[in-house]
């Protein structure tokens, strides 16, 4: 059945919304990564099982004490402008560029990294201050894109003209960007994987309206729909079209997980029983099915089921209104005394529907709920200032709990100023200890054991109200082969993708 | 006028019903009269008597919802009422033409004078643009417009009222119609302009031998131009005949009443008013209006009141006359501080009121009152007569109860029933309303009354009653009155002294007989010469 790959052809995709720039070091929004992922590359990539795979690093060695990481780079890699790629670029990227421009890397670098050196032109060595079990997961494209030193060193990164003409090591080069219309990439003839990529051209079309995007796919104008390109209800229709296949794979590294954030600084949410009651009051199956059109899976706890260290063995919160009411009654809580401000996540219609639904459910318990409409700026500011009662949020997991998950539960991460910390004020020293233990573990088993225990505690205490794991569906015409291969899905360099004739 | 000739126009038993719900059943009822070629027929009557209605009916210009219910209009023997619209269109403008009352609105504001005149010829078959053009030029010259070559390219808004009326006449004459209907063509104009236009119409009529139907309410005009007269009252022709006869030997009581009411200066009985105390002493009063103007252009400056001085005594009536725009109203407004004064003094009972602030002047207002021109506009339609009469005293600190008693007395004084107290102004006729207006002014026991064109909007017969009332009141209350009017005859009839204003200045003043019989200033002379019907003395009519 497997025909040999053929060369040539153009692949049509959609960039939605139109990315502001393609320089992934400065902007990590979805479309930027999608398009920029064909131009820039990172040291590693990750399989759908989240195991590290080679990218610009051909191999890597971790010392037994877990403190020294040595990467060996691919040979004959050239930047798109013809300059050779070397370990200097990696050191510059890690030590200068990303430290300044990339908040997530900066945190890791200041907390764990002692030094970054290149003993040989094709070798880079990271020395850590203390062991960090997730370190090997920090080299994905969105976290660690390699930036050309010769263009950026000593410049103001944000105003560097090279941002408009991105130069990377990836399989495709930017040919033309017609704003509002399309981004056109062409084959990098000097790509370091011999004979690749198969495709000649990539088109990323800009189609601002979701309904038109669906039509564009139906009409064959585009071959691929990325998760989020079309509305949920359109997905149901489009995947039934002939000659079309779909997959939910390719999001394992991100595994976005949606939850309610209940501010535990004051009543009613400071009482764990209220949080439990609310979990019982919400029919999460209903949300997945009717609000998100079945594109998701009810979450059981803080870890997405596709990620490392996940355990299903935690307390469950089935939809059960009477039970929820009973919990409150037993606790002697009078819901009518409380008015809860519900702050919806301003990301569009489905999220609004979810807020409306959750409001109704909580009101059935007797609480009063007012929806506090805010914009994205207001949302992040209020959340960052801890000025909220109840809101929604979601987190990317980035492969390892230490990178994407723990930040929401650690008591030392109760920091004003970011919406992506422990803003709900969950404090449990035991949990802190377990996460610390796991992050510093050199052995996987130790980490797994600590994470399992942590999950049980967190779920029992309903540190957050986990709703569901988002499932992003990639839809493509069957003729497009090898599209989704890794855990970063369509952000992966499409050097293996080909189109059958 | 040889009788057997078929008349140019014969109106026979014409009746036009009004829509139901109006004050009477027919606008005109069963009216008949003839108009012969080469004569001027005047139709006179009070407002609403149906004069315009007949004129419009002849031209076929009645609104859709008004249709003659009976009778004929025979024009050169053909009944216009049964004619098809397209045939009527052929007649209109070619064989019969019309000039309207309001020259301001009767011309299309967006069309050049030339095009408007040429259009008549165009629609009646004159295809040659050059011929039309030449004719336009001739016509403009013929009606006495200055600089016709330039003027024809002007838009109507650039022309004065008299000029516009001349254009209208030129338009009517374009195809030399046999019949010209003029519906109060001079009512909106100054006396001097009126005299010119009347002159023009008479001249043309003579020259072209047209039949002219001239609608007016002014017996002076009738006396000046009419060959024959038709008198109408409430839609009925009450009397018709030769002008000579009707003017001097009216038969019908209505006609007599009208003629009796025509202003006449002889009635004035010189009274000794000069002894009263000096109540008003105006010195070098000035008022200048500035308007328009901007960064690149100078403002238009009008010296509406230019260095005016006069005095007034208790019990005296000073008439202020002059043509439109001469500054009469402005003078009145300055005296009452209804507008800012630019210079001079107004000594009221010896002290200057000009420098007083609005607040400081308010207590003095009750001594100086005003009677306005338009009895419809001068009464608040949302207030009862009682409210109108008591508002003033109440604003001046009188209790409402006292004010009410006073108001009822005043109603009796001005000849209205006390039941009027609770009614709204809309329920009264024009003359009655003007009485209410006078009562309002008197409610404050003023010492000075300014009456600005207080009778101009009224029909002659009502006018006479109101004038009489004013004179009567003055005798009883010994008030000083400043009587502003554009009608010299009225001023002569009731004033002790007359001041003639011209372009913001008083050019002449003195007792009526002096101003009338021995005018000194050229402008006064012109003004007097222009009074219509000067040769006719209504006093001599056999009533």
């Amino acid at each position: 059945q497997e025909a040999p790959p053929v060369k040539g052809g153009a692949l049509n995709m959609i960039a939605q919304p139109e990315p502001p720039m393609l320089m992934v070091g400065l902007n990590t929004q979805g479309p930027t990564l999608y398009v920029g992922g064909q131009i820039y590359q990172s040291l590693l990539t990750y399989g759908t099982d989240l195991k590290p795979l080679p990218s610009l690093a051909k191999s890597w060695v971790v010392s037994d004490d877990g403190l020294t990481y040595t990467f060996t780079l691919q040979d004959n890699v050239k930047w798109h402008d013809g300059k050779p790629f070397s370990a200097d670029d990696v050191v510059f990227t890690a030590d200068k560029f990303l430290r300044e421009a990339h908040p997530r890397w900066r945190l890791i670098a200041t907390t764990y990294v002692d030094s970054i050196t290149s003993p040989a032109p094709n070798q880079v060595v990271f020395k850590l201050k203390k062991p960090f079990s997730a370190f090997l997961h920090a080299f994905e494209l969105s976290s660690f894109p390699i930036i050309p030193k010769h263009l950026y060193d000593g410049t103001d990164y944000r105003t560097n003209p090279a941002n408009q003409t991105p130069i990377g090591t990836g399989p495709f080069k930017l040919k033309e960007w017609k704003r509002g219309s399309y981004i056109h990439l062409v084959r990098n003839e000097d790509y370091w994987k011999p004979g690749k990529p198969y495709l000649d051209e990539l088109y990323f079309r800009i189609i601002p309206d979701s309904a038109s995007r669906a039509v564009a796919f139906e009409k064959g104008t585009v071959d691929v729909l990325r998760g989020g390109d079309v509305e949920g209800f359109e997905v149901r229709r489009l995947i039934k079209l002939p000659e079309v296949e779909n997959t939910t794979s390719g999001w394992e590294n991100y595994a976005p997980l949606v939850f309610m954030q209940m501010n535990q600084r004051s009543m009613p949410f400071s009482d764990k029983r209220v949080r439990q009651a609310i979990m019982h009051a919400i029919d999460r199956e209903f949300i997945v099915k009717n609000v998100f059109f079945g594109l998701g899976k009810v979450a059981t706890g803080p870890f997405a089921s596709t990620t490392l260290y996940y355990t299903p063995d935690v307390p469950a919160y089935p939809f059960d209104l009477p039970k929820a009411k009973k919990i409150l009654a037993d606790a002697g809580i009078k819901p009518a005394d409380y008015t809860i401000r519900l702050m919806p996540l301003p990301y569009g219609a489905a999220w609004d529907r979810m807020s409306e639904y959750v409001k109704q459910q909580i009101e059935q318990l007797g609480f009063k709920v007012v929806i506090q409409g805010v914009d994205a700026g207001g949302w992040s500011q209020k959340l960052a200032d801890f000025d909220f009662d109840l809101t929604f949020n979601f987190t990317y997991q980035y492969g390892d709990p230490a990178l994407g998950v723990a930040r929401h539960y650690l008591s030392n991460n109760i920091i004003k100023g970011t919406p992506y910390g422990n803003n709900q004020n969950y404090v449990n020293p035991k949990v802190d200890e377990l996460f610390g233990l796991a992050a510093g573990a050199v052995s996987k088993d130790v980490a797994a054991k600590a994470y399992t225990e942590a999950q049980k505690i967190i779920v029992d205490e309903v540190a957050l109200g986990w709703l569901y794991e988002m499932q992003n569906v990639t839809i493509n015409r069957k003729k497009v082969k090898n599209l989704v291969r890794t855990g970063i899905g369509l952000n992966e360099s499409m050097d293996e993708v080909w189109i059958s004739k | 006028m040889n009788a057997p000739r078929t008349p140019l126009l014969r109106v026979e038993n014409l009746s036009i019903p009004l829509p139901t719900g109006l004050d009477r059943e027919f606008a005109v009822e069963n009216i008949s009269y003839d108009l012969h070629a080469g004569e001027i027929l005047c139709i006179v009557g009070e407002s609403g008597s149906g004069k315009s209605m007949t004129a419009n009916a002849i031209m076929g210009l009645l609104p859709d919802y008004l249709n003659p219910s009976g009778g004929k209009i025979l024009f050169r023997g053909k009944d216009l009422l049964t004619m098809r619209e397209s045939d009527l269109e052929q007649e209109r403008g070619r064989s019969m033409a019309m000039v309207f009352q309001e020259p301001l609105s009767a011309l299309n504001p967006l069309m050049k004078v030339r095009d408007q005149i040429a259009e008549v010829m165009e629609v009646h078959g004159e295809r040659n643009a050059e011929t039309r053009d030449r004719r336009v030029l001739d016509l403009l010259e013929y009606v006495g417009l200055p600089d016709p070559a330039n003027l024809r390219d002007a838009y109507p808004f650039r022309l004065s009222g008299g000029q516009r009326q001349r254009v209208m006449i030129a338009m009517a004459l374009a195809l030399e119609p046999a019949l010209l209907i003029a519906d109060e063509p001079t009512t909106a104009l100054d006396v001097t302009t009126q005299a010119q236009i009347l002159d023009l119409i008479r001249r043309i009529q003579k020259a072209k031998g047209m039949g002219v139907m001239f609608v007016t309410h002014d017996f002076g005009v009738v006396a000046d131009i009419a060959d024959r007269v038709v008198v109408m009252e409430r839609g009925i022709v009450v009397e018709q005949g030769l002008a000579e006869d009707v003017l001097n030997r009216p038969k019908h009581p209505y006609t007599r009443r009208l003629i009796a009411a025509v202003p006449h200066r002889e009635a004035h009985d010189a009274k000794a008013a000069a002894e009263g105390d000096l109540i008003l002493d105006v010195r070098n009063l000035r008022k200048t209006y500035r308007s328009g103007g901007g960064f690149f252009s100078r403002p238009r400056v009008v010296n509406a009141v230019n260095d005016i001085s006069f005095t007034l005594r208790r019990g005296e009536t000073l008439g202020v006359v002059g043509e439109s725009g001469s500054g009469k109203s402005t003078l009145g407004r300055c005296l009452l501080k209804l507008t800012e004064v630019d210079g001079g003094q107004v000594l009221f009972r010896g002290s200057d009121v000009v420098p007083l602030s609005a607040g400081a002047f308010r207590p003095l207002r009750r001594h100086m009152q005003m009677v306005f021109q338009d009895p419809f506009a001068s009464l608040n339609p949302r207030q009862t007569v009682g409210r109108i009469l008591t508002d003033g005293p109440v604003a001046n600190g009188v209790s409402y109860a006292d004010a009410e008693i006073k108001a009822r007395e005043l109603l009796a004084l001005v000849g209205l029933e006390t039941s009027a107290f609770d009614r709204y102004p809309q329920e009264f006729s024009g003359g009655q309303r003007q009485r209410v207006g006078i009562a309002r002014a008197l409610a404050l026991d003023p010492e000075l009354l300014v009456a600005d064109e207080s009778v101009s909007a009224l029909d002659v017969s009502v006018q006479a009653q109101v004038l009489e009332l004013l004179q009567d009141l003055q005798r009883k209350l010994n008030i000083a009155i400043i009587f502003i009017t554009h009608d010299l005859r009225i001023a002569a009839q009731i004033c002790d002294r007359i001041a003639v204003m011209y372009r913001g200045e008083i050019v002449e003043s003195g007792p009526p007989e002096q101003v009338f019989d021995a005018p000194q200033h050229a402008y006064t002379q012109r003004l007097i010469a222009a009074i219509p019907g000067l040769h006719w003395n209504p006093r001599l009519a056999v009533l």
């Binding site: 979701s210 309904a211 509305e231 209800f233 209903f286 009717n290 609000v291 919806p344 219609a349 609004d352 529907r353 807020s355 409306e356 639904y357 409001k359 109704q360 009101e363 007012v370 929806i371 506090q372 409409g373 805010v374 914009d375 207001g378 | 109006l22 004050d23 009452l336 209804l338 308010r362 207590p363 207002r365 009750r366 100086m368 009152q369 005003m370 306005f372 021109q373 338009d374 419809f376 506009a377 001068s378 009464l379 608040n380 339609p381 949302r382 207030q383 508002d391 003033g392 604003a395 001046n396 709204y424 809309q426 329920e427 207006g437 309002r440 002014a441 409610a443 404050l444």
Partner: protein, 279 residues
């Protein structure tokens, strides 16, 4: 007064408008009685087409909420915002217009420049910006609509005041010694009231349209079910569930139409041309 009603009743359209509005008002007031359950509550299967289930004659939306309940509760929001924002706009407009028209001169110039400013800038865009920045709540929406809709009232009132001010009965009031404010309130305002009423009634209609447009764009108060919101939420489901957008649209159409008809009826009945001089 009798005359006024007679004249109004002569106008067929105005009567129909009154009838429709009456139904809408009753619906608005009786909404909690007819639909005791909140319109936000899922009460049935999602996406039921109309008349498939007799309990939901207008169908249900994607969360199983009763469209009929939404229509009834939406009537409240539309009328509430329409009437209050108009009232606010009228108060602003009358104050500014009255001051400008009565005092004239500099005051007039200044106030009219101010009014022109608000009249020139695109009203709906301005409303959008205001609501977006101050966050959509019933208060901010009402005020935003009022802020963009008062200029015509101000101009109208100014015009009326300007012409009435020079009318003789107002001068008469000055001459008898009434004070400025008193003249404005007792002499002029009563005479300017009928055009204000007519304009205001038409503005209610416009305000309802504006509110629905804002809601449609997602700028409605999130705690209140409104017609525009229902259409906005249904927009992406046009292909699957036409009824979600058709019914609220018809509701807006009928309400606005009714108010316009009433406004025209009022205009005809109060028309100064017809009233004439004979009372």
């Amino acid at each position: 007064m009798m005359n006024f009603f007679k004249r109004y009743a002569r106008n067929y359209g105005a009567l129909i408008g009154l009838a429709i509005l009456f139904v809408v008002v009753v619906l608005a007031f009786a909404a909690p009685l007819i639909f005791p359950v909140s319109p936000w509550q899922s009460v049935g299967d999602p996406l039921l087409p109309p008349s498939e289930d007799p309990a939901f004659p207008f169908g249900t939306d994607m969360l199983g909420r009763d469209i009929a309940a939404g229509l009834a509760y939406g009537a409240r929001v539309s009328l509430l915002i329409g009437v209050i924002s108009t009232a606010v706009a009228v108060v602003i407009g009358v104050s500014i217009g009255a001051l400008a028209g009565f005092y004239g001169g500099r005051v007039d110039d200044l106030l009219m420049r101010f009014t022109e400013f608000f009249q020139t800038i695109p009203a709906f865009a301005m409303a959008v910006v205001l609501v977006a920045i101050f966050n959509p709540t019933i208060v901010s929406i009402t005020l935003a609509i009022a802020v963009v809709s008062w200029p015509p009232v101000a101009r109208l009132v100014r015009g009326e005041f300007l012409s009435l001010r020079s009318r003789e009965f107002v001068q008469a009031a000055v001459v008898i010694g009434q004070s400025g404010p008193r003249i404005m309130f007792t002499q002029i305002l009563p005479n300017a009231i009928s055009p204000i009423i007519v304009t205001a009634s038409l503005m209610v209609a416009t305000a309802i349209l504006t509110e629905s447009s804002l809601s449609f764009l997602g700028l409605g108060d999130r705690n209140m079910m409104s017609w525009g919101f229902m259409i906005g939420a249904a927009r992406t489901m046009l292909r699957e569930a036409w009824w979600m957008s058709v019914f609220p649209g018809v509701a807006i159409l009928l309400t606005v139409l009714a108010i316009n008809l009433i406004g025209e009826g009022l205009n005809d009945a109060m028309n100064p041309h017809l009233r004439g001089r004979k009372g």
